[in-house]
Amino acid sequence: MTEDYFEFTKKLFAPEDIARKKEALSGLRVLDLSHMIFGPTTAKVLGQFGADVIKVEVPYQGDYWRGGTYWGKYWKHSNPLWHFINPGKYFVGIDVKKPKGKDLILRLAEKADVVIENFTSGTVEAWGIGYSQVSRINPKVVYASLSTYGQFGPYRYFPGWDLLAQGASGVLAATGHPGTDKYFKVPDFFGDFFPGYFAAMLILIALNYRERTGEGQYIDGCQAEILMRSLFHFTYADAMGKDLERTGNADPNCSPSGIFKTRDGKFLALGIATDKQFQALCKAMNRDDLARDERYQKAARRLQADSAEALGKAVESWIKEKDADEIVALGRRHRFAAAEVLDDVQIANDPWRRERGSVIDYNDDMYRKLVIEGPIAMLSQTPGRTKWLTRPLGYHNRYVFKKILGLSEAEIKALEKERVVGNWDYRVGQRPPIYHDIAKDKIFNYEGGEDH
């Protein structure tokens, strides 16, 4: 029966069928006024599942993350770490500070189902493109304002980043080794991405409600507050009267648990949650004495600091004498959780992830091959997909202004002349890759007709 089941699921999730399947959010239009990572991630999730996302940037400047990157490393005149944050979007350059630019944005907002922005509280209102203005012309809109401290409360005007949200929310104070003076942040802007997905969830809740009632609404997505929602530390601190100290690489909710060094110099994470898993581990370790010890038989007692520490030491010296693969195989056989600590290259090359579709070799018309992550959730009937990687700043101006707003070539030229709309300057991250012949690009020079 199990064999049979995996045949069934293999067909259900077959990657080769994805392109043929329906998109749950097709027909939905998202106006993405956000920049950097938090807001763009929210819009990306909706785009992956079929929404048309129009990303508005400042002409000749663009989203600051276009020119960012780690360690100064660029790729094909772009930030390689920008493509997976903004794939499949329509890129337009409109200057909101010019009255005609504001007007264009309002016209797009009028035709949008969802608007996403992540400026400091009040900024879009001051510009005249906030919820109070957009809801007047489009009462069904779901409008999400995303910021570090939220739209109300004493700190609402404070600017912030992922780093600041981690510090202000208690996330930073939770990570590191006890008794040391170092607190590690969660890397790779987790404090932007996690809230980005969370905000997408809130928008999807609002869209479900709109589907029932026809009513839109406003969402105040607060980055630091969303991070707090993922911490049990507040409930703990209030109930226990003290903060939960950092716990190094052990999880205090599992006993034993930790990240250990193996004989072959690898790092291995091991965590025991249930009593059954503990018995399985003892069997694998050949430690009947531990299995019978009443201090360890029940989770409630096993989790106490003295037990967890003693068991951690026993596991540490056991793992030290074994290779990582051996422990992982024992875990599979006896059914306890043990996993190697994987790095960037192992993840990029993992055959399981390729088969699953959570790491994808993507072939893009403009940028050619790039390895990117797949959707966070695999849906059998309406799977997520990537339509293209990113495009240069203002690449879709003509496509969007003609197709959606019905502007003529002459009108667009006039707006370009006044610098109300525009595309890139020569800085890295904004312009097309050098090998791309932009003069022959049909989308960039869109005249009408065919779909993108």
Partner: protein
């Protein structure tokens, strides 16, 4: 609304005409804050939560419950093992802290899925459910005759969410089907632990991979699962069709942030652990000051210049002028600049730094000269500090919910939506405490289960 003398950092908000729209905006926001009497977005949905020893499942169910769905937690008669998994065994009347935190707005029933009656009852419930969440080994529910394959036959609209370490398809999913879920192993396999820890030059074990000190993988999987469920629900509202959603916890971090696969491919070599430094920018981190830890985060050149001036280090500006000087992969250079900042803040208090930075930023925003910069800062807070913070009190970020057995419990809540705000209506965690109510409501047979 205005609780402190406000400092505005944006030039747009300082403009003359801005005050009227802003005050109208504040009025709208204060109305939006009210939760009472508003409708719930998903109160037409029923969710079955079968998650077992898998915290991600509990959290996914919580998100639906906060949005108004009827969420029924289905446990075996002895209860879900995740109820007692708690830091060092800390508990409130026998219920672990994380479990109690996620016990919002749920109903608790017991079904013995090892027996025929329990399975029949589950079928009856699944027939009426919109969403089912389960975390058993792939194929296990199927073997019991209550997997997606069987349930969709009599409820084609069912949205079936499965959360496991490696998912319900692929060769690995099958081989490692019985590997249990933990947050720690999910962090390790999804690329997170490899990036946390001190620099290679630091002593062992401080330079080893380290865990993010909360359920970072668990909550990420849960948000992914909830997004998937809500996308599927929207599709169901339009077409009547259900589907299966598969979440692999070993993917949690990499598929959320996306950096590991792309970096592994483009750079061909893994990143080293970077201690308290940042892979992107310098300075971008928390530094030890006189009375705690303070954030110094400079992104644009003008922000960096401003910070140098304010910290009395202007004389080094020449060597670090542009962003490209400060996003180097030369770790010695980064450590040098980081060290300078470290020394500069060591003798100052957070209050002093904050005062300098914000006074400067407000002035710079007003100035016509746009190179003024906007150095930003904040202080590292622990959970206890956060609970004292006025801002979160004003926002209602923490609810205090009273329960006859557990007393007053403090819980974080977010999801501020003007029409259908998320909310905590109650907490409850008694094993089988809603058996009578739910069995009656959904027509289940109660021979043995609700004993």
């Amino acid at each position: 609304m205005r609780t402190i003398k406000e400092r505005v950092y944006s030039r747009y908000l300082q403009k003359k005409g801005a005050s009227k729209p802003l005050s109208e905006w504040s009025q709208f926001l204060s109305k939006m804050m009210a939760v009472e009497g508003k409708p719930e977005a998903l109160d037409d949905m029923m969710v079955l939560d079968l998650s077992y020893a898998n915290f991600s499942g509990n959290v996914t169910a919580s998100f639906f419950a906060e949005a108004g769905a009827e969420v029924i937690k289905v446990e075996p008669p002895e209860g879900d093992p995740s109820r007692i998994l708690s830091p060092y065994g800390a508990n409130i009347q026998g219920v672990g802290v994380p479990y109690l935190m996620e016990s919002r707005n749920k109903r608790h029933i017991t079904l013995d899925l090892a027996g025929a009656e329990g399975r029949e009852n589950l079928k009856r419930l699944a027939k009426q459910a919109d969403i089912l969440i389960e975390t058993f080994a792939p194929g296990e529910m199927d073997e019991w005759g209550i997997g997606y394959r069987q349930l969709r036959e009599f409820n084609p609209g069912l949205i079936y969410i499965a959360i496991t370490p490696y998912g319900h398809y692929t060769a690995r999913g099958q081989e490692a089907a019985h590997t249990p879920w933990t947050d720690l192993t999910s962090q390790a396999e999804s690329g997170l632990a490899a990036l946390i820890g001190d620099l290679p030059s630091a002593p062992e074990p401080y330079n080893w991979p380290t865990r993010a000190g909360f359920y970072a993988a668990g909550y990420t999987s849960a948000v992914g699962a909830a997004c998937g469920g809500l996308i599927a629900s929207l599709f169901k509202r339009r077409t009547g069709e259900g589907q299966m959603i598969d979440i692999a916890a070993a993917d949690a971090f990499a598929s959320c942030v996306g950096f590991p696969p792309t970096i592994g491919y483009v750079w061909k070599k893994p990143r080293i652990r970077y201690g308290t430094l940042d892979y992107g920018l310098c300075p971008y981190g928390f530094f030890k000051c006189k009375d705690g830890y303070v954030a110094i985060a400079c992104f644009r050149d003008q922000d960096f210049r401003a910070a140098l001036k304010l910290l009395g280090k202007w004389k080094i500006e020449e060597d670090w002028k542009t962003l490209l000087d400060r996003i180097t992969d030369d770790i010695d250079k980064v450590l040098e600049l980081n060290g300078i900042v470290e020394k500069a803040v060591a003798d100052l208090t957070y209050g002093e730094i904050n005062e300098k930075f914000s006074t400067y930023s407000v002035k710079a925003a007003r100035s016509k000269w746009r190179g003024g910069g906007l150095p930003v800062t904040t202080k590292m807070l622990t959970a206890k500090d956060v609970l004292q913070d006025k801002h979160w009190q004003v926002r209602g970020t923490f609810n205090k919910i009273e329960h006859p057995a557990y007393g007053v419990v403090t819980l974080p809540i977010t999801g501020k939506m003007s029409r259908t705000p998320l909310r905590i209506k109650w907490i409850s965690a008694g094993i089988g405490e809603d058996n009578d109510y739910i069995f009656k409501k959904y027509g289940l047979s109660a021979k043995s289960d609700s004993a």
